[in-house]
Symmetry: C2
Subunit: 453 residues, 2 copies
């Protein structure tokens, strides 16, 4: 038979089983966290009509899109989860209750130039709250709490949710008479982390042709630092000069005020006047999340408030706030940095049942008992040597073996072996199931991410 | 602004939020059931190289495939989960431990002619156990137990797992000297349910040109019915005339023998000599699962034993056994038959927190307490009339409201309202969280499928 070499396309992540277990654990945490905040799961097609998907048109993304004909139909693969959400909300507007809160964890496609750590197929994990005409600021205040819970459950402690408000920025540039130029100024200020304050000042002066006064005011503004209370106090000094600014400051004050009630520790939240998010459609609060020890990774969870979700589909005004986690990239980076925790159980089963008897009725019944207690159980019946059976458990990282020979059957017992310590004890099947279930419940607390000390 | 009509392509399922919750519940049960039996989750790309995906070549499927160029690369969307599994196992052979047990729940694509109930994008939910060179029969005996647990958890009681063994069929035709023609005979016999025994007999005689003796023998054989013990006893009468038959009978006897130990009640399992599964590559046990009250739906979970998973990728002999659930079609049919249970909680949240206070610190803290107890909690802060807030909860089907006014804040309490009974009680937030968590845990037992009486 002529054979084809089995290979996976570059830019497409396909994980080994143990890694996939870690990825699944992260997805489980995401579903659980998002659900706790009242977001409903949504699942939209990966293929859409190209006309619908590209209704917004233009942009860098369009070149990267997977687009093709099937028969006469012009199709495209979704490149994010926001456009499908806009389509869904516009199409189902009259049946939905607003605010409409949805989460979606799904694959999206972008034909990027192939390079290490860049993916053409990748998961995004998004939440959005969509209002009908208006949307209360408390929705924006709640977002940091969702990020905090999610990342904490992943096992991270050293991360900071950085928050700003576009109305404060635009209001400030409004004060300087520079509102029309705020976009290009923000893009320059956004380089602060990379090139430093001095060069940003030079660029503003030389390239954007701003006067020395304006540059000074901007540099002073973006250098406002300190605790959240200190930053808010400094911003109060600007109050009364721009209505837009004042609204933004009220919003940011509200977001900061309710943090503690939402369970977010002050040290995980930082007002940062230098972040703006690139996308033009953000109009209020914006978020970035950075891993303190790995600033080079950039933001791992970003988003913000926008005023018009679906203007290219409907005349309804649909403001919203949302965040997105680039899950595939985050997972890749965590792996590269050695932060994925191999101490968690990544085996396909919690216990391997190894029968040493001719008749398998008793061992199978024991496996059934284990499963009835929620213990993930694999029955190993291949005719191999005992040593090979344990080597199999070892290769998979299965934490427990249940060994059943004629002695055990006669005693109505099973031998439970802890494969990490080597300790072995005989007990009735139901007790074995309870013992292992309890031990596994503890192991489930082991986080998927382990920060290095 | 010029607007595009937001629409979803025909043949692509996109569910309303409440229905999606039911779909998610089914997926959760599938993940849980498959995991309990030691299957590890796998996630492969939706896009593969066309050369790799079509390595097996030919067949009806090829015409339906979504295939396109991106740059110079010839790509295709997966049309099942078996070919990607074959690719994965062949490519990762040396790193995997065998038996390799994987589950995969994922979307596949077939450009079928568009018609009601036919989908171009649909979920399959597969499990397979792959051996390296050989695979013990107990793996085949375990499969009915996985099907039984999964469907029972869905809420179904009236279903039957029908089992046969291709070696018995081929062995029987071997006895008649018809082994070379067993394929066409099985395809004819497969029509039994639709056209009846008499017409099958006529077809075997007229179209397949079999002699009257052979037709009589075949009709007698496939008319063997009764309890599993009775069918096995009847089959014993044929023993000794074909080695293949005897092996098949031994296998089927083993599968039936361990049923009870695997926890499968006898009345959910039926040896049925008329089923064969169309695909040529099944070589041993074959499975179909039918809903007793809805025979017209056909099999909702099918599969079997095969000897060669990945011959077009590797010279390793990789026998396996697997089953597949066509999840999207099953879900669609359940909906059409009115079997999806709207009594389960399909709301995005278990409780809607409705603050009546100016300052939101206390209500937000109460929401945080609810979430800490695992209660899915939505905070409703839109400036609407009280009546509209309850109408929102009602539209979503949220079962509880937690109402917080100044009186509650003063008392350090919250008012918990059961929105189904109207009953309302005041209690401290932590007690409210425990009360609602307990009630919700009970509601989680409500199955996603409800059979009609």
């Amino acid at each position: 038979m002529e054979r084809v070499k089995p290979r996976t396309l570059s830019g497409f992540m396909e994980l080994p089983p143990a890694r996939q277990q870690q990825m699944e654990r992260m997805m489980e945490i995401l579903r659980e966290s998002y659900s706790l905040y009242g977001f409903t799961p949504l699942d939209t097609p990966i293929i859409e009509s190209a006309e619908v998907l590209l209704a917004k048109g233009g942009g860098e993304t369009e070149k990267q899109i997977y687009r093709f004909l099937k028969g006469d139909t012009d199709l495209a693969l979704r490149f994010d989860l926001t456009v499908p959400l806009a389509k869904y909300v516009a199409a189902n507007y009259s049946n939905l209750a607003f605010p409409f809160k949805r989460y979606q964890i799904g694959k999206v496609y972008r034909g990027e130039r192939s390079q290490r750590g860049r993916f053409r197929e990748f998961y995004q994990a998004d939440i959005d709250v969509i209002g009908d005409g208006s949307l209360d600021i408390v929705n924006e205040a709640e977002i940091p709490s969702i990020i905090y819970r999610t990342f904490t459950r992943f096992g991270l402690t050293n991360f900071v949710i950085r928050v700003n408000n576009r109305k404060i920025l635009n209001g400030f540039y409004d004060m300087l008479g520079l509102l029309a130029r705020s976009g290009e100024i923000m893009r320059t200020v956004d380089k602060l982390d990379k090139i430093g304050a001095e060069k940003v000042g030079l660029l503003l002066h030389d390239e954007l042709d701003l006067g020395q006064d304006n540059v000074g005011d901007i540099m002073e503004f973006i250098s406002i630092k300190g605790s959240n209370a200190q930053v808010l106090a400094a911003l109060e000094e600007y109050r009364g000069r721009s209505e837009l600014f004042d609204t933004g400051l009220d919003e940011l004050t509200t977001v900061a005020k309710y943090l503690a009630a939402f369970g977010v520790p002050e040290d995980h939240f930082q007002i940062d006047l230098t972040i703006a998010r690139g996308l033009d459609y953000y109009t209020g609060t914006v978020y970035e999340t950075t891993l303190t020890d790995y600033p080079e990774i950039g933001s791992v969870c970003s988003g913000g408030r926008y005023d018009d979700l679906a203007g290219y589909y409907t005349d309804k005004k649909l403001p919203g706030v949302g965040i997105s986690i680039g899950l595939t990239r985050l997972f890749y980076v965590l792996g590269e940095q050695g932060l994925l925790n191999d101490a968690m159980v990544t085996a396909p089963a919690d216990v391997l049942v190894i029968p040493m008897t001719q008749d398998l009725t008793y061992p199978i019944a024991a496996a059934t008992t284990l499963r009835a207690h929620g213990v993930r159980t694999q029955l190993y019946t291949e005719p191999k040597k005992v040593k090979q059976k344990f080597a199999y458990a070892d290769k998979l990282g299965v934490p427990y073996a249940v060994i059943i020979g004629d002695d055990e059957v006669a005693a109505g017992a099973v031998s439970v072996k802890n494969l990490q310590t080597g300790e072995q004890r005989s007990m009735p099947p139901a007790q074995a199931a309870q013992t292992i279930a309890a031990a596994i419940a503890e192991k489930k607390q082991i986080p998927v991410i382990r920060e290095r000390l």
